[in-house]
Amino acid sequence: MICIIALIVFGILGIFSLSYRRIAIEAFDCVFRRLVLRKCQSRLDQRARSQITGKLMKVSKPAAKFTYKYFHVIEFIFIILLIWSIVQTGISGYNFYVYGNCNGPNEDGFCIFDPTGHNSEISPLNQLSCSTEEVDKELSLDQLNTSLFPVLNQGDDNIVFFIGCYECEYTRETYPVIKKLIEKENPTVIFAHLPINHDLESFTEYGNCIFEKEGSTKLMEFNDYMFSNQVDQCTVDTCSAALTHVNLDLAAYTECIGLNASVQLAQEQFNALTALGVYGTPTIFINGEPFVGPKPYRVYKRALK
């Protein structure tokens, strides 16, 4: 049975080393022979058994004796562990493909396929002055009134609810992926600006005003500018630059954001998002399924109907 383990382990190591390749070939021969109900001739299992026993004898005679005597049981345990490990690896691979994370949707444990954890990185809300408390509950759009938020793209019946912050580097990274999704798949995309910094709150109001006055195309242009430029606070200069870039009048929009209705809408939006339990940006719901952190394109695409 140990030949099965040897085949897998040395098969991988054999890619890099001739000496391991030789053992892998022996292991393959052994496994193949066993499959066709013939005796393994390479004695790889016995060699492993005796060599392990010999090494253990140097340390502990009882351990060596136990290992030699119950080698088949130990082999069996290792096989079980191997199968379990393969299954887990398969699940991890599937999770990585589907959710961009080995551990399942929005988990933050170590992932071998994404060792730096980049796909799960977020800008947390609770570490900044404007932050809200992290709500430890399942993310769901069920209770959210999405009509509060501007529609970035009116597409098919796939609904992408994109929560991001202009200052968040991970949102900036995700934005082009969402744009690609719009371009290729044409889902309906609703955009919610969730500022991770108090200084950026005004931009929420600017966005709402632009959407109300000019519609989604202009808002998209505004977002293009905001996500491609590092803007960490809304000053006269930064706001002016952003609005000028999209050919909008600063004075008119300054007036708009000063209206009670605008302030109230932004506040309602913020309250609604924090009530959802969103704890960082970017957070994207695709047809109700949440994805926290910047995921690869395939993950978002797969979540579409």
Partner: protein, 393 residues
Amino acid sequence: MREQFKVLQKNIIYVDSACMSLRPDCVINKIKEYYEEYPVCAGRSNHKLANTLVTEVLRARKLIQKLLNAKSEKEIIFTKNTTEGLNLVANSFKLEEGDAVLITEKEHNSNLVPWLKLKEKGIQLIIQKLNDDGTFNLAEYKTTLENNPNIKLVSFHHASNIDGVIIPAKEIIQIAHKSGIKVLLDAAQSLPHITVDVKKLDVDFLAFSGHKMMGPSGIGVLYGKTEELNKLDPFLVGGETVTDTTHDSVSYEQVPEKFEAGLQNYAGIVGLGEAAKFLMKTNPDKIHKHEVSLNKILTERLKDRVTLIGPEDPELRGGIFNFYIENIDMHNFSSILDSKANIATRSGQHCVHSYYNAKNLPVSTRISLYIYNTEEEVNKIVDEVEKVIELLS
């Protein structure tokens, strides 16, 4: 002595010399000398380096002649190993359909398979039975020869690789010669351990390998009496074996070149010459005595714990202690000795499958001693063998 064998500094107990002996520095240096000083062809080119090599090859041939006490260096043919030497005789000795070859029941595959192959040509193979303890029975041998007048060649191992027993070669040859039968000796396991004098033995052919006598691997020798070699047809032919050719004909060289086809293993040849010198300097009879003294310790301390293959008397087994233990996998046994205590033994049927099968013997572990093994090592081996027996029982 031991400091000349660098590999022993790796804290290993090497007792697999019947398979492959270790080489002293002088042999390794001689091989290095070839590659550094005169790494060229011999006998083809006519420049200083080639002439140096020709001299070195001749020197090696003469050293081997001296080791064997052969009449002439022309009786020394360089081969790849013992197997090639035996194959050369098997394929070149003039045997006709109905003729027979006699071998013992305890031959290495190298001295069995070439003859088995000749069965296809109608050559009969007769197997000489041995005593139960593996020793040779001269009386039965005489009877075999009397009962089989078609035997034309006797091909025996001189010393066995599985039990170390040395056959009474001189008497065997005398008896064979009385009936006009030629004798070929497989001396792979005897030459490294005892004095082999081809004149005293009066043997017709004798083959041995370099790698078992502290020489390089890939080089061996077939000795043959000049008159017998002249009767043989060349086996491998090509470059160096001929004096002239046309598109229709060939004129062969004299012995030994007639049998040395193609570019030779010159590094091996000069190394083998050096090994022969080292062996003569050490004195093979002293080696044998040393091995027997070590084997006595092994036998005394282990005989009640293991089943020995071969006679119980270590004097008869030279440096071989081949054993098995009922219900223990001896491959695993050897492997544990290696991984636990760095003791290099060999397990298996030692290329004498036919004997193991005929006698229904299980796989065995062979300890084969040589010049560089010590009493301290042997005692350590016994201690470790006892521990492993205890573990696996």
